[in-house]
Symmetry: C2
Subunit: 613 residues, 2 copies
């Protein structure tokens, strides 16, 4: 029943309205109204990121808010996941709390890729039925197609019922038609001639970002790229909080799955709109993503991924009709998910390994995928060993007091002139800064180490940082920008706790890399490849400065862009690459770091920053 | 908008009500209200069978009614397909116009059938995931199943998405489960152990009657048989009128298809209810039927079947997921349609040939399937030749003045005592007679020939038939029962025109058989097998007396029951029999009789009845 206007809640500046339900938090109400509010902890009252300013008769402050809001509570700020406005009112959502479109790296694959796709289109001339023993339409089509395909088909290709039903109508317009054959086994499309090439969609379903690549499967050409924030983000920033939503709410898995599926459908529409093509011509789809994204997308219960011994529901490639997974592509299109390696080494890492050719790398090379989890592969002499570190989201700005994702207002680079009274900040979008994203954090810490303001142990040198380092609520903190120069009117600070978070993350990654080296008997790295959007934004020198990975020559650290997306496109364009990915996933070794003794030891040893500049 | 009660039409004695739409005939209105009225011509005003008695302001008599109703018009009878009651009223539907449940032959297959079904169930113990490299659930299931199946699987069996989603839940209750494997390629069912055998459904979709056989696929046992009149009958009695409905009405095919699909679903439910089983355990379905029933069931445009050169849309076996065809069986069950031979030699004939082992018959044998069409196969020395005659529906009581199907009130057998003043009639259900069904017609004509009342040329001998033969509206007619002894209060008569219809039908069948003999070089038949329900009701001596087929020793004429159903069950229970059916359909020859010179000649020669008794 619609409420009287004064009983509704209006979210500003969006102007969206919604009817509050009994017991419903402002966060859930905002989600129901399509208003994106940052909630990295999944609305559990743990992260303090969903700050809003309600006007009206709000419910009383909760203990979580008292702990997390500090003095901001006096200014009328509340946590959207804790507060409610049962009688209606207005909620102001400040910029830093808004789930925004991010700056996403979506450069497509470059260079020549192998073209040998799962589907092939043939133009056929199907002869009419001839007395005295007139052959049936399907059988005439099958014969014409076998001939066109070179008569090497083992059996007549299958024709799905939907296409069989369309066949008489198609043949009425003369016998000329285009048939698309998949794996020499099944006809997946029938159209009049001249309907254009079959299209393919490769999708990298990241925890944070979803990127779709639209390709012409006749020419192998990349036609368009479309990307969007993963719509699951409002339900929780990391895979753990999303998996716990699935465990705790019977509708959780269905809701998260539907959100991802709809996102891929929207990206397919958008990419086709960019390229002036019809999404109904997409005849093949390849997807990659980490194991949690894979399970949730396919609506597979992810509980086993989160519990020892961390076994997935399925590890090898999954092939299903795309429509069964909810995708609105061509009716008979197939969806191929690249294989996983293990519970925490997903299809995205397999795709990265495929893209960089890890199975053929000779010199010891560390391939680091710095997404929301820190997964890596050590490749040497054709062998591969993978692990996943619970690095946490610090390098993406998570668990950092004023951390944020790579959105407008985020500090992405910092420099510090000797003796200067303030840091020079480079901010995404050129706006006043409102927080740090991962590359900005690494950059700032790297500068502070070089300036001696930050000590290898992680403490601030108050003397060296005079005028910039001060005592804060939780110990010493570095003021990167005063309130007058920020977008939210508060000082932008890097706290000791923030530094500790970065130390924990980089120590986990470095220790993981050293475990892989020890297991494979590699003494020294010859090369580091940084994959993922973050890998590309990161300055190699700064990453080395904070000790993110074992020592390597600076010029041998290389960003490889969205390698997972490139791997997905390779598998879309070539069946041979798809089989190679499967073999690569099987051949790759895997080290489980939880409970690994050497890892624990190396982790502690890796906590300090390197002392040499 | 619901109408006032006085504006509605009430069908009696059913008591069903409906709102008449502008221009809607009483026949269509009755169909919309679920009232079955006989309309063998499909409501075209040609057959005069849909007589009803409307009370209210009916539309004026049409020319078709004036021609077909004769004096009945004065008694207030109308044709439901011509008349309407736009202002509402009551419609009385007399018994002979009601589409009734028929007496259907549904004896199941007897004897030992080969058991080697497409699906096999295995009880498995799936081991839990073990560190340090825990295997995924699907892969553990696949390994356990491969081992149980004897390790001869070429590739790990596929697991459909629906079952993959159910797998974690099933494994939570310990690793014991039952997996059903199809063709060693796909897992089609997963349940806890103890859920019972997989079930199979074989369906014979006849033009008039649909029969479903429920089998246990572990034991091969026939659990239940269920049958029903084909719900397409109210749309037209024969395949031609149903195909023309598909051609003339854009919704026609969808409506006819849905009616057949719903009928099979209802039969599956009923058979399972009889056997105390769950329709969700039906994991495999085999269907047979003539080419028109096959196309319409699968919603394939049947137009090409009705036009030279009579090519089907598909000839070989069709395998689709049962749910795609609309069947509500187990979610992953497959439907297998046996192959057709040609446009007018359908999967039912292939099934009959399989059931009687036509591919191994040595002595010249004519296999006659006397359904709504007259299809036949001549088998000799392992060779087979088939044809279809446009025999028309006379032998099923169609196109006969007082003809009807084998329903209560139908004369099924007649005898004539020498010099008696009336015929002795045996009536289905023991009720007063209201019409003739096929076997009754053959029986009466045979008696009349023996008594010399009917002459070989088809004319009545008025002298010999004194007191029983009289002049009627359309020439001479034989009074089989006077009005006082019938169920509808009118004389039951066999007219000269009725005799001509039977002559046309039997001449077509006999000429077809002689063409096959000539083509195969067979001089004399050694055996005749009569398949189909009609074949079983028919008296072999009477059939021979009217010259339905070339001469053969009386004791070598044999009814083989519902052989099409038996063939369907054989293909359900055995994959080898399914492949045999495919080979048989390929190897069988086919003669197209339309435009065949010898056929025309033989047809004319076969019109007279044999003169010898």
């Amino acid at each position: 029943m619609p409420r009287a206007d004064q009983e509704r809640v209006t979210f500003q500046p969006m102007g969206r309205r919604a009817d509050p339900q009994p017991g419903q938090s402002l966060l859930h109400l905002a989600q129901s109204a399509g208003v994106g509010i940052e909630a990295p902890c999944g609305g559990k009252g743990l992260c303090g990121k969903c700050r809003v300013r309600p006007e009206g008769a709000a419910t009383p402050l909760t203990p979580a808010e008292k702990a997390l809001l500090g003095s901001d509570a006096q200014e009328g700020l509340r946590l959207a996941c804790q507060a409610a406005l049962p009688q209606g009112g207005t909620v102001w959502v400040p910029p830093e709390s808004r789930a925004q479109r991010q700056v996403i790296l979506t450069s497509g694959p470059s260079g020549e890729l192998e073209l040998d796709p799962a589907v092939r289109a043939f133009e056929l001339s199907v002869p009419p039925a001839q007395p005295p023993e007139p052959e049936a339409a399907r059988e005439r089509l099958q014969a014409a197609l076998s001939q066109a395909a070179g008569n090497h088909l083992q059996a007549p290709p299958e024709l799905p019922l939907g296409l069989l039903r369309a066949l008489p109508g198609l043949l009425k317009q003369g016998g000329e038609l285009q048939a698309t054959l998949r794996h020499d086994r099944e006809i997946v499309d029938l159209t009049p001639v001249g309907e254009g090439s079959p299209l393919g969609l490769a999708v990298d379903l990241g925890t944070t970002t979803v990127v779709a690549y639209l390709c012409d499967l006749n020419s192998g050409q990349l036609l368009a790229v479309s990307s969007e924030m993963n719509p699951q983000v409002p339900y929780g920033d990391d895979v753990i909080s999303r998996m716990s939503l699935c465990a705790g709410d019977p509708q959780g898995l269905g809701r998260l799955s539907a959100a991802a599926v709809e996102c891929v459908n929207a990206l397919a529409m958008d990419a086709c709109a960019q390229a002036g093509r019809d999404p109904g011509r997409i005849l093949e789809c390849v997807m990659v993503g980490n194991s949690a994204m894979h399970h949730i997308f396919l609506a597979l219960e992810p509980a086993s991924l989160a519990m020892a011994p961390y076994a997935p529901v399925v590890r090898g490639p999954v092939e299903v009709k795309a429509r069964q997974a909810g995708l609105a592509l061509s009716r008979e299109a197939w969806l191929h998910w690249l294989p996983l390696k293990a519970g925490f080494v997903g299809a995205d890492i397999v795709a990265v390994a495929l893209a960089v050719g890890a199975d053929q790398i000779e010199e010891p090379t560390l391939i680091l995928d710095l997404g929301t989890n820190g997964e890596m592969v050590l490749a040497a002499g054709g062998r591969m060993l993978a692990c996943s570190t619970a690095a946490g989201p610090a390098l993406e700005g998570g668990h950092i007091g004023q951390g944020m994702r790579g959105a407008p207002g985020a500090v992405e680079r910092a420099s510090l002139e000797l003796g200067a009274a303030k840091a020079n900040l480079s901010v995404i979008g050129g706006e006043p800064a409102v927080g740090f994203c991962g590359s900005g954090l690494v950059s700032l810490i790297s500068c502070l180490l070089n300036a001696g303001i930050l000590l290898p142990g992680g403490g601030f040198d108050r003397e060296r940082g005079k005028g910039l380092v001060r005592s804060g609520e939780h110990g010493l903190e570095f003021v990167a920008a005063p309130s007058g120069a920020t977008g939210h009117g508060r000082d932008l600070v890097l706290t000791s706790k923030d530094v500790s978070e970065v130390q924990l993350a980089k120590a986990a990654i470095r220790a993981g890399a050293e475990v892989l080296m020890a297991e494979m008997g590699v003494e020294r790295l010859e090369r580091v490849l940084l994959a993922g959007a973050f890998g590309n934004y990161l300055d190699p020198g700064e990453a080395a400065r904070i000790g993110l990975f074992p020592p390597v020559a600076l010029e041998r650290i290389q960003g490889v862009g969205n390698a997972a997306g490139v791997g997905a496109v390779m598998a879309l364009l070539s069946d041979r690459q798809r089989r190679r990915a499967e073999k690569l996933a099987r051949d790759m070794g895997y080290v489980e770091l939880s409970g690994h003794n050497l890892f624990q030891e190396l982790f502690v040893d890796s906590m300090p920053f390197p002392s040499d500049g």
